[in-house]
Subunit: 196 residues, 4 copies
DNA sequence: TATGAATGAGTGTTCATTCAT
DNA sequence: TATGAATGAACACTCATTCAT
């Protein structure tokens, strides 16, 4: 019960942080603003998080867990790596489209941080990159993908392309429909620019 | 003579900023540190730049101009879009490899800024993206690239892949040789992951 | 209890400001000096005042309130405007004499401010000028004062004379006894220089 | 010729200072602004004035000299102290009315200075106060004024009243006609508020 | 657990003055 | 005389974090 209550307030603060950062930008998001949004006192924040940076890390970890969980479930049971890749791109975009505040925070605001924090974020990101790697390995093994594929580089292409497209979408204030770009992006990732 | 001297001090401050930001990180880089590194007084900075942000913008504009200039010259006169793309990737990586401090600043530190500044940076970046677009258009016109290519998405894939790889290289403290990855990246961009 | 405590710290800072400004002069009175004198941290100042200028405005408002309050009580119940005017001059001088630091601040330091702040100060001053006007009106109505008196000009004479005398006293480092000048000043204000 | 030229540039800078201070306010009036207004280089200022404060002192001395000179000439030859006092008030107001910029500078901006500078200004002011004293002495000697008049206090009343009225006029952006107030002010100074 | 008043370290920018030319 | 590029000291204010209650 107590633990449940803690969990509630912990998530409450994280959700308040997402909203506050999205609305004010990372550098205009003071701890006191998060506290006010969460409906708790400033000091209470420090009962659940070590410091401000810890809020960010926890926020990213928490959200990325759901992200990975959801994508994993969607991908699971599909037969081809090609199809899995399409679903990954499409649903990555879908999740961001469903939560603009979160999209702003992950694509823009969370990057306005120092290298140390970026390394921690990269660490959390590994779980997501593992999803891509698994698809790539499966594709190579069953002959869908090029046997000589450099997994790391292919993963960087896939993640870099998705990320660049998503950031571009956020920078233009979500002006266009992100999800509908998935098939074309997928086509590019599988076949490249070349006239094959 | 005077103009020359001014030009010199302007560049002197910009180069000092690159070094100081790379060494200290964006948020630990005080104007006074840049001044000391440049060998001028704090106040002198403000004879050449409107404010601290203006140093960053100017730095990025100045360096990106050379970047684009150099890549343009290398690409000019090549016959195929495919070859041009390879040279673009390779020399993009080469320029970063030649100047680790600049790589740190552009890949990491310059991004720790608010949206407003990011938009200004994006504006400057457009000159570079135009280079990519021109290659894509040429490739489509002479049949090297897929006629149905979405230029914007293809450009985002190319830039996203290069950028993600470069950032990854900087985040690992330039542990591997970036330039030698160019051919494989190029292969991925042209043919994708698929087993064509 | 809380309100009481707040009130205490608010006044504590104002009193520290009076002393610090009187000792150092307005332009040499840094916020940190006021904080040190008040025995609080610099940041605490900003829990009670919007900014440095707000300290000054508040200081003047707070002191002027007591000033007016005290003069009003002394004047109340006296029968003639002439007597009231004497008491006003005498007690104006008395209050300044009792608090040299405050006298320095109001006669000299508070005037070293820009027009905008001066207008705010003038606004607060209106309460005091009203006291003078009321005396003048009463004097006219009961025949003590000239029926054709221009209230505004008479008020400016009275206030100008008191103020000039007080400033002169402060500029000479309170060398002479201010209060004992009241009867002569009063005589001048009532009868003028002329040989009536 | 050279001396003439010097004189010219000296006055040129002083006049530029009056305009610049009146337009920008004392604290927004940088030496570089005065230099630009005067059409000289910043450094040139320091060939004619010791420092910024010296510009102010010199400005006040220069203008006050003309002020006193002009008032002296107007007063000279008049037969009664009463008439002289009227002419003094009237022409004091007239000179200020003729030069709004100068009025702003002397009534408002020049007072935003520290005690040290104020003492120097007071010193220059003595020449003007002497004019008043002479009128008072003459008035006492020829029986126009009260034989028991305290010269210092009477002078403070006269100057304080003129000054307060002039400042009030400047603070209201010269909304009313200052010169036409002279007779009433004069009446007040001679006869006071009383119903004589 | 929860509060919120108090803390105090940290920095971009201005501008009077100088001095080499 | 005249210039104007260069100097560098000086300061109000913010905000993450603490701790007495």
């Amino acid at each position: 019960m107590l633990k449940n209550n803690q969990k509630t307030k912990y998530k409450q603060i994280i959700d308040a942080a997402v909203i506050t950062i999205a609305e004010n930008g990372y550098h205009q998001c003071q701890v006191s603003k998060i506290a006010r949004q969460a409906g708790v006192a400033d000091g209470t924040i420090y009962l659940y998080f070590k410091n401000k940076e810890d809020i960010l890390i926890s926020l990213f970890r928490e959200k990325m867990q759901h992200f990975i969980q959801r994508l994993s479930e969607i991908i699971a049971g599909k037969n081809t790596a090609t199809e899995k890749l399409l679903l990954l791109v499409e649903n990555h975009f879908r999740i961001l489209s469903e939560n603009h505040a979160l999209a702003i925070v992950t694509q823009l605001e969370l990057r306005q941080t120092n290298k140390e924090l970026r390394l921690k974020i990269n660490d959390i990101l590994k779980g997501y990159l593992k999803l891509i790697d698994d698809i790539l390995i499966e594709g190579i093994e069953n002959g869908e993908f090029d046997a000589k594929l450099d997994i790391r580089l292919a993963r960087q292409m896939i993640f870099g392309t998705i990320d660049e497209t998503a950031t571009s979408w956020v920078m233009t204030d979500h002006k266009f429909d992100l999800v509908s770009l998935a098939p074309k992006i997928h086509q590019l990732l599988i076949h490249g620019c070349g006239n094959n």
